[in-house]
Amino acid sequence: MTALDVAAIKADFPILSTTVRGGQPLVYLDSGATSQKPKSVLDAERDYYEQHNAAVHRGAHALAELATEDFEDARKVIAGFVGARAKDLVFTKNATESLNLAAYAFSNASAIATHHSGAIDPRFILKPGDSIVITEMEHHANLIPWQEVCRKTGASLRWISLTEDGRLDLSNLDELIDSTTKVVSIVHQSNILGTINPVQLIMDRTHAVGAVGIVDGCQSVPHMPVNVHELHADLFAWSGHKMLGPTGIGCLWGTEEILEAMPPFLTGGSMIQMVEMEKSTFAPPPQKFEAGTPVVAQAVALAAAVRYLENLGMQEVARHEHLLAEHTVNALNALDGVRIIGPTTSWERGSAVSFVVDGLHPHDVGQVLDSRGVAVRVGHHCAWPTCRHFGVPSTTRISPYIYNDIADIDAALEGIVAAQEFFGVK
């Protein structure tokens, strides 16, 4: 029934044939937190270190040339994956840094503007009375940086609220995003609710008021075909480790225009044009935003991850996940005493599904699943305000990926029933 040959895929991931908790075969359903890595990704990283490793962009010797070529080829491959040009793709250490980079453009510009007039693009200068708009389903990575920008500039934070079934309440969008709005930053696919948001519509409203539009694509890029141009965003952030790539690499795509206009974030070597003790000028993007020795081996490995996904086909990946989502929501809906937090149908939602079990704490549900070898995530999933909105302290989340099949989901479902029985709430 599924769009992917999951058995063949599983065989590419060494960790998926390990056992946990005294011999239980591992059923990994925590890919929303971080994905596992196929052999080809690990090989690419190791080959880089064993054959080409050197400082990139700075050296003129043979290895430095090879390393630089590997690094910039990786940039091309990864940018191409989201329909972008290499020169518009900035490497960071994770999506959190990407989003902070975006947020700091505003607080840095505002601070510089108080001491130096001119030279700073006014779009980035915030002051009391200005507003920043996010949603109530943001990951902390797209919430706290904006709280901090507000603390530093006096701007205020607004947010789009949620409907009962975990979608954005767009009824008052035009009031929320108004002439005071300088930034709108929203999640493409919610990591806790699974909701896929109408990003383009919100970005269009953003541009109608002249604000900068930012999208957090952490949970979309790994799971569906994404073309940055179709989203109408100015900046788009995501992480490598959730899409088969290594830890330690994140991405920020931006339009050429916005990347040119933004002040730098991290400063130091490799992002400069000229340096004197008194002042420096900066290289064009993406180098302007990549200070210091970059995440070279990680970029090479992430490019291998992209190749792995492209080989499967992102349309097929999305179709596979849609089938898993459908099975999961239907099965959870049918379970007594279980309530999905988020959309209860598979329409415009990803395969990550959060739920609560009557009378049971998520930690205890997760523990019972864990005792059966099933790894799920429990907690607020770094979206604490979203939990508050739904009146739950936390949830249990099943988040499958390309290497999971229906049997894996069923193992989790059986675990839920076993937890209800163990704690006598059934």
């Binding site: 239980q24 930690h363 523990q367 607020h380 302290p393």
Partner: protein, 151 residues
């Protein structure tokens, strides 16, 4: 895995029938703690009775381990002297950091020895310690112990 080694009957019993849950009228000290990974919360309060024995109040929400641990705490600490409560608290901390090795002292820890199995699950140790860390802060606030003592 042996689920029963974690969820001992004593723990499940305390979870389902928490002892002494509820806040005090006029606490000497009160501390609110939260587990930042799951959002579990607890408020622990202290006061002293006429003989100087400790009175404990608490309220909160959380998983079976954190709730049972708070209930056991009340049972163990209520009526005890500061000195004795410090002995118990430190013994519990030690138990939680023992990773399941060694023999806990039942004379000191009473029902709390049931938590020995929890020590084998690092992610749950925080749950078990939540109320005990709050107790320490509440006692510091009440001026009964000083900062850092036995931390």
């Amino acid at each position: 895995m042996d689920l029963e080694s974690l969820y001992q009957d004593i723990i499940l019993d305390h979870y389902k029938h928490p002892r002494g849950k509820g806040l005090l009228n006029k606490p000497l000290g009160s501390a609110f703690h939260v587990n930042p990974t799951c959002g579990d919360e607890i408020t622990v309060q202290v006061n002293r009775d006429a003989e100087g024995g400790l009175i404990i109040g608490y309220d909160g929400q959380g998983c079976s381990i954190s709730q049972a641990s708070a209930s056991v705490l009340v049972e163990l600490i209520t009526g005890e002297s500061i000195e004795r409560s410090e002995v118990i608290r430190k013994a519990f901390l030690e138990l939680m950091h023992a990773q399941g090795v060694g023999e806990p002292d039942e004379d000191v820890l009473g029902d709390a020895i049931a938590f020995a199995g929890v020590a084998k699950f690092p992610a749950r140790v925080k749950c078990a310690l939540l109320s005990w860390m709050a107790l320490q802060d509440a006692e510091i606030q009440a001026g009964l112990i000083t900062t850092g003592e036995g931390a």
